[in-house]
C-alpha cells in the first residue's frame, strides 16, 4: 500500500526528473535533414528472433571483453 513517504518521494522524483527536464529541453532548434526514406519501419513491432539474438550478442561481448 502507498504511504505518505512514497507519495512525497514519487512526486519529488516526478517533478525533478520529468517535468523540469522537459521544460529545459523545450524550444530547442533541431535541423531536419535526411530523415525521409523509401523504407518505413520506425513503428515496426520488433521480431522476437532478431531481438533475442541482439540481446544474446550484447551479452556475449561482455564474455569476450572479459577474456
Amino acid at each position: 500500500m502507498l504511504d505518505a513517504r512514497n507519495i512525497l518521494l514519487s512526486l519529488l522524483l516526478f517533478f525533478g526528473g520529468v517535468i523540469l527536464p522537459l521544460q529545459q529541453a523545450r524550444g530547442q532548434d533541431v535541423s531536419d535533414s535526411g530523415s525521409r526514406s523509401s523504407i518505413l519501419i520506425r513503428d515496426e513491432i520488433p521480431r522476437y528472433d532478431l531481438f533475442f539474438e541482439s540481446i544474446r550478442l550484447g551479452n556475449l561481448i561482455y564474455s569476450v571483453s572479459m577474456g
Partner: protein
Amino acid sequence: MQMSSIQSAAFAFSTTPFTPVSFLDDDDNGLQATIAVSNATKSIYIAFRGTDGEEQDTWTDIDLCLTPFLLPPVDTSSSGSGSTGDIPDTATNSTLRGSSTKPGTLGPFGKVHSGFYSRLFDPKKKLYKNLADQVKAVVSKYPSTYNIITCGHSLGGSESLFLASILALQVFPNRAIRSYSVGMPKTGNEAFKNKMESIDNLSIVRMVYNSDFAAHIPLPGLTHTGHLLLYLDEDYDNSHGVGRTDFSLDLYYRQDGSKNDGYAGVPLKDWLVTPIDFVWPLGNLYPIFSHIPWRYEEAADRAYRQGIWPTKFVPYEERSCGFLSYFGW
C-alpha cells in the same frame, strides 16, 4: 586504437549462431564493439559492450553534460575508404548558431549525454567512421535482404543508437536499420528523441526489466528514445504496493504513448521508482539486480516460450482509466 583479432570472439561465439567478423577494442576510452553475422536470421549485428566496471566506463557514465548531437560526415561511397571531412568543433560549429551547416555534417539533432557521445565521436579517434566503414564492408558481402541491427546493453545501448542514426541517415538511407537495446539509460533530450523517432528507416526498441535502475535514473534534461518493451516479473512488487500475479511483456509506443494514434504510455505504477525502492523494504534490490544483462536474455526467452511476445502496441483504451489508476488505485 587497437584492432584485436577475432579469435577470442570466435571461441566465445562457437556455440552460438553468430559468426564474428570483427572486434573493435579501444584501450584508451574503453569502447568495445563487435560485428557478427547470423545466417539463422540472415542478420548483420553490431553490438556494443556496456559499462563493465572499467575506469574509462565510469568517466564516460558520469560525464552528464549535454552536448549537441552532430553527425560528422562518413564516406558513403562504395569504396569504403577515405573521409569527407573532420568532425566539427561542437563549441564553434556554425550550425549551433543557426546558420549554414558544414558540408556533409548533419545536425544538430538536439542534445545528448556528453560522455556517451564523446566516446564514439572522439574527433581524433573517429571510431564512428571506423565502425561505419567496417559495417559497410561487411554489408557489401551479403545479400540486400540481410537485416542490419545495432544493439547493446546499458551504455552499449546508447552507443548503438548513435551508430544506428549514422547508418540510417548517411550510410544506408534506403535500408532498414534496427536499434535494439536493453537497460539503456536516458541518452538524449526531447529534441533528440523527436528527431530519432522521425527517421523512417530506423526502428528503435529498448527493453527494460522490472525497475532496472539504469533505465530509471532521472538524468536532468534527458528523456528516453524509441519504443519500450517493459518486462515485469510476477513477483515484481516495489514499494508502491503494486502486487502482481503473473509476469508480462508489453510494448509501449515511444514510452509516453500517443493518444492520437490510439496507443497508451507506460502507467506510472509500472514505471515509477523512488529511492525507497533501493533500500526499503530491506533486501529489495530489484533496481540493481534488474540491470544484470543475462536477465534480459532469460526474460525475452521466457516471454516468447509463454506466447506473450507482443504483437501490437498497448492500446490507449486499455489504460485510460484516469489519473489515480496510474498509482495503482
